[in-house]
Amino acid sequence: MAVAAVHAGGIADHIHPEPQGFVRKYLFSIDHKIIGIQYLITAGVFLVLGGLLAELIRVQLMNANGGFMTPDTYNEVYSVHGSTMVWLVIIPMLTGGFGNFVFPLQIGARDVAFPWLNMLSFWLFPPAGLMLYGSFLMGAPAAGWTEYPPMSLQGQAGTSMWCAAIFLVGVSSTLTGINFLVTLLKMRAPGMTYTRMPLFCWAQFVTAPLLMIATTALGAALAALFIERQFGVPFFDPTKGGSPLLWQHMFWFYSHPAVYIMILPVFGIVSEVFPTFARKPIFGYKMIAFSSCSIAILGFMVWAHHMFTSGMAPFLQLPFMVLTMLIAIPTGIKIFSWVATLWGGKIHFSTAMLFAIGFIATFTLGGITGVFLAAVPFDLHAHGTYFIVAHLHYVLVGGSLMGIFSGIYFWYPKMTGRLMSEKLGKWSFWLFFIGFNGTFLPMHNMGLLGMPRRVAEYDPQFQTLNRIASSFSFVMTIAILLTIINVLYSIKKGKRAGHNPWNARTLEWQIPSPPHYYNFKHIPSVFANPYDFNEPLPYRGLEEELTDSPAPMGAH
């Protein structure tokens, strides 16, 4: 690639020229903004596929004796549903998608530290998705997204494909983690100290080491499972001297931090949306940043709370129980700080803000049931039931997915230069909120009264509750489709957004929408943190940024 400085348009810094061909510009791009959008679109496609599988599950559970699918097909459907949502939707959207697009702009960088590595990270992701869905052709994985052996050793050929696919996503995550960490350490604009970084950057800063460290444990576990399935080396098969619990330890050593990989970036999104629409500084900036760090560290020390009934020395349960409960403290600090941010504000209820407020309500419920489950005696009853299903969906749908929607409505104007329809957005929010709670609230009761998870048929006493859940799940699906329609419609028909439609104060809103290829003509200097609405903007060097704005997407 030609390494020529562009001097036209008063650009003094050393900048690579923008590639012109379609392939290098949009397909194999090394631009973090294009890669971010690629992640969001690809993960969006998988959201539709995973959502479709979820609806198949809910249709099957309309009747106590199932009957819509065979039990084997049902097992494949929910296993691929879970794997899709965790590895192909939530993690790629939050880190690869929003992380890539937003935080380099917020710290005043021209790109991430390793743009080529970034492109590789993205391009490991679609093949992994194709492999996971291709596994339906050879018998998809059927032992749930956790794939506990020895069950997964009995699984059909697609289970090996699942190992390979998730391994690829894992490599992609690890590379992204390294890339983001280096970028945030080394490429902040002058004056962008750690206490002046927007909180979304803090969220990514804390998530990056989790991606880097935890995912490697998953990679090792997946490799072992693959080798055992294909070549018969007994890691997990107890009849040959392996240990089924080894898998559970390695899997949860990754998958518990992964819960924070899936929620910390959302904390970041909410911490940007709240001050912007309440027109107030975020309450307790330092405590929010600090609590993210402590959540990440504690998150590595609690994995075995997923295994209280699996079989471990009783005394080992104590530290895992107490450490898990401790996580409630930093999480509580965050939630109280967000609620306090609303106090005394001038709250503007945009769709992004509605999703963020809805997030607080549902995530709080999911967090509280999480503390219940940390208590070993309660977990002895609730483990492996629909109570767990309810809890995890409150955290990952009511939490992560609502945060993602908030982020989409918030940053879409920056990505495309156009506003999404607020009217359609508000319909989408209310239908989603009602549909979500109607679907998952009854599952708490089902679980406590005796309905186990991962069953293709169930005791008839739960049929009414299940029909309520299934009916509301269709409402939720309509809500998600409305947002997708909104995204597609607004690319061409949305109102022009201008560079800063929300009057936000972080750096990405001070440059054109969509931003130039090189982000900033001059790297700005930063003088304070961005949340003081009564002060002038704390940046210098942005005077020329808005002199020639690119056309919004879909312009003729």
Binding site: D72, M151, L245, M287, I368, V371, F378
Partner: protein
């Protein structure tokens, strides 16, 4: 008002919630666990009301009004150390209380001595079997326990990971092959309580909820126990998989077989042409189908061979079918089923 609501919720959940009318407490440990659950539900509900109450109240009270200037801003405060100290300290104290309470209950459940009456429960795909001291072999229909006698229950598995959960006991232990997990409890309430598998264990995981723990009075238990002892007196210690020898098919009842089919077979087989696969193939006319003259094990489709598969089960490339024991079929049941299958054309 938010405070009043949260106090009311505490009072309701802690003191008045009718948990036992939803789900009886069958053993002593269930009462201990419920006391913790009440505390958790009470404090969790109160916390939820406080957070969401203030969230809604602030959202309403500090909304942007039409009279506000478009660029109006809120009160510019960054933090309040006193407030932050309080909302760090109070949850910390609360977590400590919760941890202490949980550890106290935990110790009562997990740290008992091991001198109860020992019973073993073993998981199979897809049923449970039980072993008792001084009874040969394994029992596969129900598990009986005497009222008021401490029990040490060891659980493990023959194949994949299962779980032993009795909701009315509030206790659960995974059945992991190669590992023995232990539950200790004393039955306190006579009755018949469902055992449910909560760890995914294959195709018919959802069907693994058809066996029961029966808590008897000591007299009834003794009678049941001696009955088993005598019945199994000559059995070997091997798992009793099926009756031995060929099954007499004379006098099979078509209607009884039809009813059995809907109860025991229809989860996997439809009365429909061969190609209508549910888990296994459709079985309509299985004994009269010239296109498929052989059964899954390669033997000719005759009544005796069908009875053999029902008796011994099948495991091979084409999948697997539970045997007579797992399906809970008597020899007479098999004769009825074969008669019914013969009648479908």
């Amino acid at each position: 008002m938010i405070a009043v609501l949260s106090v009311l919720s505490i009072l309701y959940w802690w003191l008045m919630a009718p948990i036992t009318s939803w789900l009886p407490e069958a053993v002593d440990k269930a009462q201990q666990i419920d006391s913790l659950s009440r505390f958790l539900l009470a404090s969790g509900t109160a916390l939820f009301i406080i957070v969401v109450g203030y969230l809604l109240y602030f959202s309403f009270a500090f909304r942007r009004r039409k009279t506000d200037a478009p660029d109006a801003i809120g009160v510019q405060i960054h933090d309040n150390h006193k407030l932050e100290l309080w909302w760090t300290l109070i949850p910390t104290i609360f977590v400590v209380i919760m941890a202490v309470f949980s550890i106290k209950i935990w110790a009562g459940i997990q740290l008992g001595d091991n001198n109860g009456m020992v019973v073993e429960a073993l998981g199979h795909q897809w049923f449970y079997s039980f072993r008792y001291p001084d009874v040969h072999g394994e029992i596969t229909n129900e598990m009986h326990l005497p009222l008021g006698v401490p029990v040490t229950l060891h659980v493990s598995s023959y194949d994949v990971i299962h779980s032993f959960w009795v909701p009315d006991m509030r206790l659960k232990a995974d059945m992991v092959p190669g590992i023995i997990n232990t539950l200790r409890f004393t039955p306190t309430r006579p009755g018949r309580y469902q055992i449910i598998c909560t760890e995914f264990c294959g195709t018919l995981h959802g069907e693994m909820n058809k066996q029961y723990v029966v808590i008897d009075t000591p007299q009834a238990y003794k009678k049941w126990y001696q009955g088993w002892q005598q019945k199994n007196a000559h059995a070997s210690d091997a798992i009793p998989t099926q009756s031995s020898g060929a099954i007499s098919l004379a006098g099979g009842d078509v209607n009884a077989g039809k009813m059995l089919f809907t109860q025991k077979c229809s989860a996997c087989h439809a009365i429909a042409p061969f190609a209508h696969k549910v888990v296994g193939p459709g079985l309509k006319g299985v004994l009269n189908d010239p296109a498929h003259p052989n059964l899954v094990d390669g033997a000719a489709a005759t009544p005796a061979n069908v009875a053999k598969i029902l008796q011994q089960g099948y495991k091979g490339d084409m999948g697997q079918m539970p045997n007579q024991t797992a399906n809970g079929l008597t020899d007479k049941d098999i004769a009825n089923l074969v008669a019914f299958l013969k009648s479908t054309k």
